[in-house]
């Protein structure tokens, strides 16, 4: 067995630091403003800038698109310790992620755990190469918080499934190449036991999408319709009718992602924005109402970070952190919503500007609107609190 010594790690850190300094363009170290700053990859990939292209290709060449996946699947094969170092070093100089991908953060972990080797070889390398843009088909018009009540059906037609129904809140379905879907394969079983996990090519005949315009004015989500879509049987992941197990597993990853666990993007401290916008006396904010609100928010942000660290450290010693993803999701999103609410209050009129020559102000207002979805998507705060009370506190039903 190969062991990494402390000395090796020290060298790895130095090399990583140097490599990042040399290869990460300055513009790729600036904080992300909104989703238009992300690179999404996919069949119809387009880069927002030359720097973005350069940065993605450098990271791809280094196999650091997904640094901690096995090299068989195009990952970097880094140990958890090395991956930690890479994350820290990227954070240190504010490197953006080279790609924003639900394939990496959500589908990938599920494939690793539930797919056959053949399926892994088929789908994972395209994720690590940024060639497939994946979207998620979970919620339906009548299955939101009650996700397991979903009705999109997949009928067994011998060599394929025939899928009919509709999904909602599919992120960027109009741009995505593939969708991972929860479908009902048994209508007679109890609702959690008749669900399967299916991968569907978005270019299949019978698939159509319609963007949903949000209160932010943007359309990161779609409705997706399946009208007798033929899906090859080899696209079924895991066991037939046992898709809920995968769904739950994947949701823990989604919740941690939405809750900001593992988030490496640097955000400007709220108090710094406040100091730029509000009156001060001797360097101290004079607004006696906003100041403690800012301090409380930053206090909880700081301690939430420590909590992610602590629970990660405890998990290494074998403490089961399973249902805690609901805590991460609940707390992280409530913090983010509170942050945006406070930020718009600090910005005053600028926090209300919808369209302006002053693009920065306009983007804060829209991000504020977008944040209202954080405590809903991926399971509402109330759903998470319900999970905590039942699975962690063991309160009765």
């Amino acid at each position: 067995m190969e062991t990494t010594t402390k000395k090796d790690l020290k060298e790895f850190r130095l090399e990583t630091r140097q490599w990042l300094e040399e290869n990460c363009p300055k513009s790729m170290r600036l904080p992300l403003k909104d989703s238009t700053d992300y690179y999404w990859g996919g069949r119809n990939a387009s880069f927002a800038s030359e720097d973005q292209k350069f940065w993605f290709e450098k990271m791809l060449e280094k196999k650091w698109i997904v640094p901690y996946w096995d090299s068989r699947y195009g990952g970097g094969g880094l140990s958890p310790e090395e991956n930690n170092i890479l994350t820290q070093e990227m954070l240190r100089i504010g490197c953006r992620k080279p790609i924003f991908s639900f394939g990496i953060s959500m589908l990938g972990p599920a494939l690793h755990k539930f797919a056959t080797e053949e399926q892994k070889m088929r789908f994972l390398p395209d994720i690590t190469a940024g060639k497939t843009w994946w979207c998620q088909g979970y919620s339906e018009p009548n299955a939101g918080s009650d996700l397991a009540g979903l009705q999109t059906k997949a009928e067994d037609k011998g060599d394929h499934y025939l899928v009919s129904g509709s999904k909602v809140w599919t992120s960027y379905a109009n741009k995505a190449d593939w969708i991972f879907c929860l479908v009902r394969t048994d209508f007679d079983a109890p609702k959690h036991s008749g669900i399967s996990f299916l991968l569907i090519d978005m270019t299949s005949e019978g698939v159509s999408t319609r963007p949903i315009k949000l209160i932010s004015g943007k359309s990161p989500f779609c409705e997706t319709f399946f009208d007798n879509v033929r899906v090859p049987k080899e696209n079924l992941i895991g066991t037939l009718n046992d898709g809920w197990t995968i769904a739950k597993y994947l949701l823990t990853h989604e919740r941690q992602m939405i809750g900001g666990v593992g988030e490496t993007d640097v955000r400007k401290a709220v108090h710094k924005i406040a100091l730029e916008n509000l009156p001060t006396k001797d360097g101290i904010l004079t607004d006696g109402f906003l100041r403690p609100e800012i301090a409380e928010l930053e206090m909880n942000d700081a301690i939430f970070e420590m909590t992610i660290q602590r629970i990660t450290d405890e998990a290494k010693t074998g403490v089961n952190a399973g249902a805690l993803s609901s805590f991460f999701k609940y707390y992280g999103t409530e913090q983010n919503v509170a942050r945006m609410e406070l930020l718009t209050a600090i910005l005053g009129k600028d926090g209300l500007v919808w369209e302006s020559e002053n693009k920065k102000a306009a983007s804060e207002t829209r991000m504020f609107c977008r944040s209202k979805g954080n405590t809903i998507e991926g399971g509402t705060s109330e759903v998470q609190l319900g999970i905590i009370s039942k699975r962690i506190l063991n309160l009765p039903s």
């Binding site: 800012i294 301690i303 660290q309 009370s389």
Partner: protein, 373 residues
């Protein structure tokens, strides 16, 4: 550094929990209160000394264990769970910390061994007002021929009655705060006691031209403010440890009650109105655990952001202990406000702990100032 406790620290925590369950359960707290507010059980204090808890943060130079604050924090957390009364915080966290950080070798050699042995106790006399404000010191230490004359009135002196000596914060002639060791039997020292909400005894001590020698000065010239700040940080973090114990215990008793109590033909823990509030408390307590272990480790590592972490710890625990003890009372319903059940003890102790060494507002302000806003 991993935010977990080591095997050794875990052993200490488990042995403390076991010892306290056996020798100082909450019933002892009730008995002491009902015995005319007896401050603590002398026999238990001897046992605590034997367990080595008084030596955890004393260096080997003075025959201490040099085990560190993470260890002491585990003990204080367990003592919070059982509401154990003992002069560990006053004499060791405050008294010994002041001496540990002093350069007065003579005082250290004399006092640290006696404090560890539990033979003698020191009480810390800083506050002079109704509200915690370490800058508002009026007590004076006027230079005399061979030392100082101390005059002033101190309040909220924890375990002041029966203490063998006081550490008194007083301003020297140049206006700088300084710390002095004053024998409680010295001429000019008088003391009255008050029982506060938590059934604890707190003293008000008057110093009327009390003579001390130059050798009784704990802080070096020009170093008084720094030493006071070190004590404030240590006290805040240790209080946060005790508060964590109270928060965990009050929460756990409340969750158990939600599982037992039936109304409208159902266990009340099945009602979503209560479930969600319990889950919110759970989440806040997760944060509390993280800041307490982070701050304790920082104390042992003498981290340069102790001011920040101490205030984060005291503020976060102050906010959460208020939430949890209030919810504990409400969720216990009618019996929660009776003296027959113990949950009210946690609520009462919490309110005092919230105020000691600065409340939520004090520390939130200090945290903001640390970040220069």
């Amino acid at each position: 550094m991993a935010l977990t406790i080591t095997e050794e620290q875990k052993l200490l925590k488990d042995s403390a929990a076991e010892f306290l369950a056996m020798n100082a359960p909450v019933e002892q707290f009730r008995d002491l209160r009902d015995s005319n507010y007896k401050p603590f059980n002398e026999n238990l204090w001897k046992q605590i000394v034997n367990m080595g808890w008084t030596s955890l943060t004393i260096s080997e130079e003075f025959d201490g264990l040099d085990f560190g604050f993470v260890g002491l924090g585990q003990v204080l957390e367990e003592m919070g769970k059982t509401l154990t009364k003992a002069p560990l915080f006053s004499s060791i966290v405050l008294g010994a910390t002041a001496l540990n950080n002093s350069s007065n070798q003579k005082l250290k050699e004399t006092w640290l061994p006696m404090l560890m042995d539990g033979f003698k106790r020191i009480a810390f006399a800083q506050d002079e007002h109704n509200y915690f404000d370490p800058t508002a010191i009026v007590t004076s230490a006027k230079k005399s021929s061979d030392g100082f004359l101390i005059s002033g009135k101190k309040t909220m002196v924890i375990d002041g009655a029966g203490a063998d000596a006081f550490i008194v914060v007083a301003r020297t002639d140049d206006g700088e705060p300084a710390l002095f060791l004053v024998n409680s039997s010295a001429k000019g020292v008088s003391l009255t006691s008050e029982i506060l909400l938590d059934a604890g005894t707190y003293a008000s001590v008057t110093f009327n031209n009390v003579e001390v020698t130059a050798n009784d000065r704990i802080s070096d010239v020009g170093n008084g403010t720094v030493l006071l700040n070190q004590i404030l940080n240590t006290a805040s973090i240790c209080l946060a440890s005790e508060m964590l114990g109270i928060v965990k215990e009050a929460f756990s008793q409340t969750v158990e009650y939600l599982k037992e109590r039936e109304q409208f033909g159902k266990r009340i823990g099945s009602y979503q109105a209560l479930q969600h509030r319990a889950a919110i408390m759970f989440s806040e307590i997760e944060l509390c655990k993280s800041i307490v272990i982070t701050a304790l480790q920082a104390l042992d590592n003498e981290s340069n952001n102790l001011d920040e972490l101490a205030s984060l710890a005291k503020a976060k625990l102050g906010k959460t202990i208020k939430l949890v003890t209030n919810e504990a009372m409400q969720m216990h319903g009618g019996i929660g406000v009776t003296d027959d059940v113990n949950i009210g003890f946690y609520f009462k102790r919490a309110r005092v702990l919230q105020r000691l060494f600065g409340d939520y507002n004090f520390h939130l302000d200090r945290y903001a100032r640390y970040h220069k806003y």
